[in-house]
């Protein structure tokens, strides 16, 4: 059990890094508290795997320290760090049974045999592996193998944190659901710090209490799933989280009004002191953009409507910009012209990609 502190951590794969772009991982300061469920979310090459490897001890950071509780582990090798890891592709010892697989880490640490047996039974029950304990691990399905990988981490009573490196990549969709809820249940039952690395926002948001969104080697926002969804601190977060991502539209803002081409949109907050930049954008999630009958709201042209089963999503064009909007269940669309309603409570203004807080309005605004 441990709190993990990243202290001025940075890493470059090339020697003598100078410019910021030399760093695969730009300076990061962060504290992960004991027992939390965290996710590192970002596209390929954003530095999340580098960070994971630093935590597990496979990569020594160029700068900074990493602490488990108050112990500096920067120079400790993997095996001395009390961490467990579940990899993208299941790792099981092919020649051993499930029971032997689970007992392996304890056997290596010379734990007495009766204690090992008891612990293995316990963990097997927790992971629903009891019925296959005596089978060869190599003959099981991918999701079972991932559970075994996880189990080998859990049997160790001293484990400080479990790292997950895109563990659901090779799992079929319907089994992902089971495995994901198993993970959550385990987390609740065992009070172990868990860090989950993925490029899949659904996995990150559903797993973690706190999600760290990374882009280009740096952390762009850390927050709870609803914070990331409702108040993305950066347009990248808006785009990356949500499916489809946030609509980002270039605009001009004067006080509490945003101008999108010729159309104006009333805002809930005032923006008198915007930074002096040319790149002012309005961001709103498709969930808060509603398609309406023609003649109401902002005029748009419908390009396409996707039926995703439980909802319909329209792609519409406004002033040459394409955006996504939700289509209410009872709205029947005819022709390719329609109106658009933007929920003013969920409009955000970004300057150079960063969220601008704005000021609360004194008067009445709608």
């Amino acid at each position: 059990m441990a709190r993990i502190t990243l202290d001025h951590l940075a890493h470059a794969y090339k020697p003598n890094p100078q410019a910021p772009q030399d760093y695969a991982l730009k300076e990061i300061n962060h504290v992960w508290s004991q027992g939390g469920a965290y996710a590192l979310l970002g596209p390929s090459g954003c530095g999340k795997t580098t960070l994971l490897n630093i935590i597990s001890g496979l990569v020594r950071p160029t700068r900074g320290r990493i602490l488990f509780d108050d112990r500096d582990v920067t120079d400790l090798p993997t095996e001395a760090r009390n961490i467990a890891q579940v990899f993208q592709f299941p790792v099981v010892y092919d020649t051993m049974t499930v029971r032997e697989n689970l007992a392996f880490p304890l056997k290596n640490r010379h734990v007495p045999r009766d204690k090992t047996a008891q612990r293995v039974e316990e963990i097997a029950r927790l992971l629903d592996l009891t019925s296959v304990l005596n089978r060869k691990a190599s003959n099981l399905t991918a999701d079972m193998k991932q559970k075994i990988s996880l189990g080998r981490g859990l049997v160790r009573p001293d484990v400080a944190a479990i790292l997950f490196d895109e563990p659901l990549t090779v799992i079929d969709p319907h089994l992902k659901w089971q495995l994901r809820s198993t993970l959550k249940e385990i987390h609740r039952a065992l009070d172990i710090t868990m860090i989950y690395v993925t490029h899949d926002q659904t996995e990150a948001l559903t797993f973690a209490d706190k999600v760290v969104v990374m882009h280009d080697g740096a952390v762009v926002q850390t927050g709870t799933p609803d914070e990331l969804f409702e108040r993305p601190a950066h347009t990248f977060v808006g785009h990356f989280i949500g499916s489809p991502g946030m609509n980002i539209l270039p605009c001009r803002v004067e006080g509490a009004t945003a101008y999108l081409g010729n159309e104006s949109v009333a805002l809930q907050r005032g923006y008198r002191s915007l930074p002096g930049t040319d790149r002012i954008e309005l961001g709103i999630r498709p969930e808060f953009v509603r398609l309406q009958p023609k003649g109401t709201g902002l005029p748009v042209r419908i390009r396409r409507i996707d039926d995703i089963g439980r909802a319909r999503i329209a792609r519409v064009e406004m002033n040459g910009r394409v955006l996504a909007a939700s289509v209410p269940e009872n709205l029947s669309v005819s022709g390719d012209e329609a109106g658009l309603h933007l929920d003013p409570h969920h409009i955000h203004i970004y300057a150079d990609g960063h969220l601008v807080a704005g000021e609360a309005l004194g008067g009445h605004a709608t």
């Binding site: 390929s44 079929d172 969709p173 809820s181 948001l205 559903t206 489809p244 089963g309 439980r310």
Partner: protein, 362 residues
Amino acid sequence: MTLVLEGVSKKVGASVHIDDVSMTLERGSLNVLLGATLAGKTSLMRLMAGLDAPSGGRILVDGRDVTGWPVQRRSVAMVYQQFINYPSLSVYENIASPLRVAGLPASEIETRVQDAARLLKLEPYLDRKPLNLSGGQQQRTAIARALVKRADLVLLDEPLANLDYKLREELREELPRVFAASGAIFVYATTEPSEALLLGGNTATLFEGRVTQFGTTPQVYRKPQDLVTARVFSDPPLNTLTIRKSGGSATLSTGGQVLATDVLATVPDGDYTVGFRAHHLSLVSSGGDEITIPASVSVAEITGSESYVHLDAGEHRFVSLVPGVQRLEPGLSITAYLDPRHLFLFDPTGRLAAASTAQKAA
């Protein structure tokens, strides 16, 4: 061209990989093969391509029997899950390679490659080597190469599985447009129901080597013929419970009785499996004649705008998709409300006995 499979099967040793599949694929259509790993998607594609010969049945192209013809004699292009390109050739030469093999004149190659590059947004990268590109661009190159051939049949075997989520989303949005621009038959294998829905076209659901249903994608999704199809085409997993109908009421396996109204009124007495999707199981009552299910919260997963609440009800495990952020403590007792307008009823053999009217119309 039209590709017709007539009772096609494939056995390897004692195991049946493909079991009596019949389907007709029309020119210019997009056909999704949806099924779990090892359901037979790849085996079926290999039969269609002529990489394998079927153990039984016939394959017809435009009415002509081509069963047993090797792949070289057919007009087929394939895209795989792995990004397969020639590492030493530029993107341009990669796309041009099938045309060079076919010995087309340089001017024709130039036009076709440029067209494909424009369609797949590869124009800025034509001079680069594939390995210097992102995964998304590498897969675009492979797709472009499959397209320039102008093959009659283009097979894509989980082409987006190795891509990042966002890149997947982007390509998934573009692909229907790319496909529409060509006149070929497209066959697209995926494990993800959401991908099938986004791609549209037709969907064939596969389970243990059988095609359980084949039709337009919304039709298969909204009116599955049997329980297996409904399960295959459902993400989150289909919720099921069993009922025993007798007279004017029905007993639920989750406990309690309901009046046999709506769809329940349309079927004869007997045992049924009720299937319903996560977004039709609500945690707030909307009034009306809902079926109430007492349950306890197992796990609540928050995606930002919505929450997936996993519920334990007796021996059943249900998933409910509800709007907004629901921070529900595990173990909390709760009542779930099932909208009777959105039910599938399956008889004991798994065939669809009846579906709610709203289900058909929606």
